[in-house]
Symmetry: C2
């Protein structure tokens, strides 16, 4: 049996490389990002699909304490039919009790041993990435490629990043010290001091529907590293990816001779939710939440006696002053607006465009020219089902279609204009998939009620601004007051870029500048991009930094004099 | 004029040494701890006294914005007469506005420049230590030696410690990075990334009556380093030491060409308190609080939408299983129980002693023998006015005398016994000083209502415990549920010591073992002792660790592609 210490030896080079990546913020990953059969061979992808298929239509076996029945009712966005899987329904009290018991032996592990186990878990998750990709597709609605990386390698990288920060924070506390000081008549006094780190208690990790694992791994690893067990609460329509991960995590713990109850799952349904019972449980010490801004704020206000880490949402703005590369910018924006049907916390939503137009490398572009080029780029993506399938994927929740309807109806009343209407498109492999191409609308700047919060749907607002300074000011103000996770700027004017950086610094929001179509403009790179500033309403925590981990544990100390006769 | 950069050069070796001390947790200080004229000469102490005398009986001049009148009414515990000094009464809104304005230029300083300025401030505070010692004596009631080190060198060391941790956390964020990744058809994409740290906003630093500067310096330096201005709120009877410090801090800022409003003071009186107005002000982002557990808990519960750091109080227990050196242990305990009349957050209060007695190096000691030896040691200290003056000093608040009366009356009703009564003693230099020698009472273990919270007065409870395990269990339980900052154990049994360490780890409380009379048993050493665990009701924060600083700032990021043709 692998011991925690041997797992550390197995993964110590990875840990060193992760720490280095966090410090240099260069690209690094120990995982293979692409599911391509050119890399993995034909067998693994097929086996992953088969593993997923074998889970459908039957009870999911997860052996954990406190089971008091069965729960779960997930609908696939691709088939709009139930997955037919049920999961253990758990008694919260029994989960907390089991987690607390598991903590006792876990807390005796060194940071190195914990890191070894967490890395081992991470690679077990990578091994599961093909199967989990299908589970993520059929709950979140992501396309296959994104589901593979977004519940696999990319998410695991964020997890390892949190692991590395936790390791760094733990290692900042020495195990022992010898202290000596002269106290006048007391003479030289020598004290042996020992320091123990100790977790805060049980963490509840609340996952979101569209990226079930992306925030879950960082939260789970941050908690395990700092000595805290995690009860993972999946979204009612995103249980399967979490259940598969939790089951495998528990296996790894058991295989290492440890109590598997350091990781538990609490599934529920939309009709019989269990989240608040978990968050309000007296033994809940830490909350890691990903989801809507509304519920995030509720948690921040109502669970403030716990340690609360939230990543929610905002209305991400795009300030357009000018293009250095019109085609690249338009392609980047079109991809960003279409990508996973804008169901990402980093998706752009509000394009602030001066009504007098913008500068371009080959002369100025009018507001309408910008709109036209963008609309054409989106139209061409949405009208090709194969392109749309890979880019837009499916719509996770029926509610998003209602958001499209609501905006479509409201925009005319608000004095705006529909530039491109949304329509379902025919998903090649899944004729019943819930799909929608982006709705692109022009609105006057005053219509802030329409665009001043996240519209969780493929909806893009072209906001007619009096000038670029007003555009910048409004976008920064919205980021500060309504929240933003990724904001965007297109400008060829270095002075304006400087001013924009200052304005967004003051707004407490990060800014991506002149991103073009060579990469997804909203890609968030582990070890490199600080995800969420914590300075605006889109969340209070960052994935990942020292603040994300340093308060999850505390230090208990002992000291004792060295008897006068003892040697130093 | 010294620039921030030149101040960093002046103090960079000190910063390096402070970082090293935090890592090794060895004894270190750049300050002279003793006020002895053998070190400083005769002139400096006399000049300090003269500076203090010159402040008495007149308005204190502190040039800061928002002054709307005068306030302040301090009584000296040594003369029981008013100091006759008044201070600016400030409009909270104007203070917050001025602080926010000052932040703009301050936030452009590098961590090195901030460290340089904070060190310069710290040495200016050391220069003020003689004068401030008298101000601390005549507000807090401390003895001269303690007032010198406790508002001077020892407190400044805790401040530098916080500065070092903040520097470390800030430097964990690189200023920039170049990131490169292959995106398949997009090819290699290179991004220039820049990272800016940004403070959370205005901090309100609430100081306590008995140690006006000890927690203030760490909070002020932690905030300044991380980009946050501090509005310092002194205790109504502890304004002068704070006012002197704030005035000098503002001078240093001005002398360095900076906006002095990074540090402001908001004084008040007990009759017209301003604390809650400050804490509830919409621009208050951070609260650093030192004081009673009751108000600390109120802040934690009612200001949870701010970042709250508290250090409050608990009922510090002493578990006595056996002495390795009876005389040393008794001397250490007697000094600890007498020291500053037990008005320290680290003072021992509850002695849990097995009723069958304890082990000693020369045979067993009965409960009564332990009590008798301790009482004799305390009596001898209290009956010698010169010794008592240096050790017990004065009683800060009249209320403490009422606590003594209350316990004296209650103990007989509770079936207990008075072993040593409290009495005023004649302070050599100050015939009107408010003084009280320790009250030592024996109580049955059931009388938890009497000893189960901090009694802020020189009162010591001898708790008759059925056996050592029960003694340990009760002391640990009280630490966990009622709070403890320092707990103590006397034992010659390594197994029992191990068990006690585990019990106190579970209780989330630190434990000082077999401390003898060669040093104050409750001395908290900067850079070495983690002060407050944050795991029990005696406070939620530690002075100082990464958690004390890492969340006081956040990271804003910019990224921009390197144009395809540019060289790496």
């Amino acid at each position: 049996m692998a011991t925690p210490a041997s797992l550390y030896e197995r993964h110590r080079d990875h840990l060193g490389a992760a720490l280095d990546a966090c410090a240099t913020r260069r690209q690094w990953s120990p995982f293979r990002e692409s599911p391509s059969s050119k890399i993995h061979g034909e067998e693994k992808p097929a086996e992953g699909k088969a593993r997923f298929d074998a889970l459908l239509g039957k009870p999911f076996e997860l052996d954990q304490p406190g089971t008091i029945g069965r729960t779960g009712h997930e609908i696939s966005p691709y088939t709009q039919k139930p997955l037919g899987i049920d999961y253990p329904k758990s008694d919260p009290g029994a989960l907390f009790a089991a987690a607390k018991t598991a903590t006792r032996s876990w807390s005796r592990l060194t940071p190195e041993e914990r890191a070894g186990i967490c890395f081992e878990i991470a690679f077990a998750m990578e091994e599961q990435a093909f199967a989990n990709a299908h589970a993520t597709m059929h709950t979140a609605g992501q396309a296959y490629l994104m589901a593979f990386s977004g519940s696999g390698p990319n998410a695991l990288d964020r997890g390892i990043e949190a692991l590395a920060y936790a390791y760094k924070a733990l290692k900042d506390v020495p195990g022992q010290a010898q202290w000596e000081k002269n106290f006048g008549r007391g003479g030289d006094v020598r004290l042996n001091k020992t320091y123990r780190t100790r977790g805060r208690g049980v963490a509840v990790v609340v996952c979101c529907a569209t990226f079930p694992m992306w925030n879950a791994y960082p939260a789970i690893f941050a908690n395990l590293m700092t000595g805290n067990p995690a009860i993972v609460k999946p979204h009612p329509n995103g249980i399967l990816p979490v259940a598969m991960a939790v089951k495998r995590m528990r296996d790894v713990l058991t295989e290492t001779g440890l109590d598997p109850n350091m990781v538990l799952m609490a599934a529920d349904t939309r009709e019989a939710p269990v989240t608040i019972d978990l968050l309000k449980h007296p033994d809940c010490a830490i909350i890691d939440y990903t989801g809507s801004q509304r519920f995030g704020r509720w948690i921040e206000e109502n669970c403030a006696d716990r340690l609360v880490y939230t990543e929610t949402a905002g209305c991400n703005g795009v300030v357009i002053d000018g293009f250095r590369d019109t085609g690249g910018a338009i392609a980047g924006l079109a991809n960003g607006l279409c990508g996973f049907s804008a169901q990402m916390c980093t998706s752009p939503q509000n394009l602030h465009i001066p009504e007098a137009g913008i500068s371009g490398p080959d002369g100025d572009l009018s507001f309408d020219e910008v709109a036209t080029q963008l609309v054409e780029a989106i139209r061409s993506r949405g009208s090709n089902p194969k392109v749309a399938a890979g880019l837009c994927a499916a719509i996770q929740a029926e509610e998003s279609l209602r958001h499209i309807e609501r905006v479509r109806e409201a925009v005319t009343r608000a004095g705006g204009r529909i530039w491109l209407d949304s329509h379902p498109y025919d998903y090649p492999d899944f004729p019943d998939a819930r799909t929608a191409t982006p709705l692109v609308v022009e609105v006057p700047a005053e219509a802030i009620d329409l665009y001043g919060e996240e519209v969780f749907a493929p909806v893009c607002f072209l906001i007619r601004e009096p000038d670029r300074d007003t555009a910048l000011e409004r976008a920064a103000h919205l980021a500060a007051t309504r929240g933003a996770i990724s904001s965007y700027l297109y400008s060829a004017d270095p002075d304006f870029i400087d001013r924009a950086q200052d304005a967004f610094t003051d707004a407490g929001a990060s800014l991506w500048i002149n991103m073009d179509g060579r990469m997804p403009i909203n890609f968030a790179a582990a070890y490199s991009d600080y995800h969420v500033t914590g300075l605006n309403p889109a969340g209070n925590a960052c994935l990942a930094d020292l603040a994300f981990v340093a308060n999850r544990f505390r230090i208990v100390q002992f000291r004792e004099p060295v008897p006068a006769g003892d040697a130093a």
